[in-house]
Subunit: 403 residues, 2 copies
């Protein structure tokens, strides 16, 4: 398997575009993106578990209930959530795709991200459709920009691998946290592939993988109303159709995981106000759930996140977060270390502090990517979670007036 | 019932003191407190649920297992947690109380707050005991200061009420969040009373009340390893002993609740870096658990807390936090309002935004005490939770180097 260029356009038969249509005031910011497949594709999606759900999610769920889709349309600048006419507007967006591309409205995935509780005006979207469709091409980067809010970098990746001698590709774009009118961190991920796979197996692959990737990210513990990850697989690679959990499914899963881990790390490292990517690796847990619970609790701890911002090896906060996680652990067996490209340092053994060089610890924690390594010495399971530090800028971005 | 002066010394037969003994470097800061009752008292306590527990909690639990205690000793500056000799040091602190007051070591409640993972030196405590015991008197305020870390105000209250014609009192001191060597927010509350009540009923009163008071506070979602609330009731008021849930128990519960709500609000409003007290009142819930879950989720939302810091009526974040709380609610029925002494404004009805004056909303949210009012229109249960805003200073306090 190798990393390649092209993002969501790397897979055969996919085109994308992203334009500024006028939902966002800043004309330098793209705010409308489109991804289309030449042919109908197997489709799968996972959605936020928030009871307050964006209207686009309801429409998308309905549209891909038959396992087929052919296009993705997504705007930034307005989440189209908690509005009286949200469903109507989301359906209109799908209708506009049909009008301008011929792809049936019922085969369109629709998404929105931005402020909630304000009506989304369809006018700029309708006016921008001609330009959006005309611009379709090898433009994954523009599509990635069109879904950004206060993300500071666009997020895209693609991989190539072989199934039965056929070259196959999976590519994805994602947005993380932050908005011009800050409201909440919506995570959106759109993945394309030319693999031939049944909608059932595609959904199985996605649902299985996100438990270890996107669901292991936390920026601030606030689960958005509009989170969504979708995959389209249009079969153009020409591989034998994947319809069960055989060897090909495993290869596909591995490629999908590579894409999702990459995007998860990018989203975490570009969290609102973040200066560092935090990666918490837990090993030696009695079961997989324990490993995950511990890793997520550490990554979510405001005190740990603030300590990492200050490059402070304050491991007591890590132990504290393990202790209140709800996971069953033997505190007296826990070891903890911090690691980065500047080195690695053990700060706690058997649940108690050990002497360590504060100078080396500081050097390690001043890097941009920090590993928090936790060994529970209680079994053979492990897990990784991703997050970011808590900074002045997080408060600034989210404490600013909307107006 | 009336509010009176005197804190933990308001109840008959209690004396207190607080001194600087040298655990903390700043000689202006008291770091050792003592509360004693003339006579043995019924004792009750509740402890952190964190699996990583401070050594003093283990010793206290053992000492009051018979329902009797007569003194409280507490130091700040070091949590005596995750040390190899923590139990030994905590027991030595109880032994020092016995040596200097004659109160049996087994009748002493011991507590510590401060940095974890560093050994606590018994020397300054031993050297300070003579001064500490000599200073015992009507000094609740000094005792309240001796348990402070980065708290900005001392926290004490007392109430007087009648039981069967006898004047009774309950008083308390508390500490909230923050440390000179910041580590984690430890909440400590020590309550004294001259009411005659059995240890069993005292524990029942405390355990019942904290579910609606101290357990409804959140500063930053990090549950400390050293949280503890204790009550001593020495029977000196001369009321008929409370041994069941009759009318006197109800009056005692109401007085205890008044003390605990007052201290809860003080702790929340003085959270690390806080500029505002947030009070989330949920009504119309289908059951008590739902009301509590919703109120705590809103109070814990980093995005809501940051919006309150910015005086931004960003109600979408409140709805978002309700949605991911895990509570069963009907989103389409939710109303939300913000209120303070400058007025009240409804921002959401039936789960969707309503037009409101941004100017009035800003005026309301610029006050120091903000109410977030949520009506679920789904039943007859309510709950209140307390928290604070998320500010630059929270990040500064917790991002600073320990060294």
């Amino acid at each position: 398997m190798k990393i390649i260029n092209g993002g969501v356009c790397a897979a055969k038969g996919f085109k994308a575009s992203g334009i500024h249509c006028g939902i966002r005031r800043n004309r330098q910011k793209r705010d409308l993106s489109l991804i289309v497949s030449e042919t109908p594709a197997s489709a799968a999606a996972v959605y936020t578990t928030n009871l307050v759900k964006g209207a686009p999610l309801t429409v998308t769920k309905q549209n891909i209930s038959n396992g087929i889709a052919q296009a993705v349309i997504c705007n930034s600048g307005n989440a189209n959530t908690c509005n009286e006419n949200g469903i109507e507007i989301a359906e209109k967006m799908c209708g506009l795709v049909q009008e301008h591309t011929g792809i049936p409205a019922g085969d369109v995935i629709v998404a929105s991200t931005g402020v909630i509780g304000q009506p989304l005006d369809i006018t700029p979207i309708a006016n921008g459709m001609h330009e959006l469709v005309s611009a379709l091409g090898d433009n994954s980067g523009y599509a990635a920009e069109g879904i950004m809010t206060t993300d500071t970098v666009k997020k895209e990746i693609a991989v190539e691998f072989e199934l039965g001698g056929k070259a196959c590709r999976i590519g994805g774009i994602a947005k993380g946290s932050g908005m011009i009118h800050p409201n909440m961190a919506t995570m959106l991920v759109f993945i394309t592939s030319d693999v031939n796979i049944s909608p059932e197996m595609l959904q199985k692959a996605l649902s299985t993988d996100i438990a270890d990737t996107f669901n292991m990210i936390s920026i601030d513990g606030d689960t958005s109303t509009n989170d969504m990850v979708t995959v389209l697989a249009n079969a153009q690679a020409g591989n034998a159709r994947i319809t069960d959990e055989g060897e090909d499914f495993k290869i596909f899963m591995k490629a999908l995981n590579t894409v999702n881990v990459y995007l998860s790390r990018m989203i975490a490292g570009d969290g609102e106000g973040a200066t560092k990517l935090l990666e918490c690796k837990v090993s030696g847990a009695r079961d997989a759930e324990t490993a995950k619970t511990v890793a997520k609790s550490v990554i979510c701890s405001s005190l740990t996140k603030a300590a990492m911002f200050g490059a402070d090896a304050n491991w007591g906060r890590v132990l504290c977060a393990i202790g209140y996680s709800g996971a069953q652990v033997d505190v007296g067996k826990i070891s903890c270390a911090f690691s980065s490209k500047s080195g690695s340092i053990t700060v706690c053994k058997n649940g108690a502090g050990v002497e360590f060089s504060e100078e080396l610890a500081k050097k390690i924690l001043l890097e941009k990517e920090i590993e928090i390594l936790i060994e529970l010495h209680d079994g053979g399971f492990d897990a990784t979670a991703w997050g970011c530090d808590l900074t002045y800028d997080y408060v600034r971005i989210n404490g600013d007036y909307r107006t």
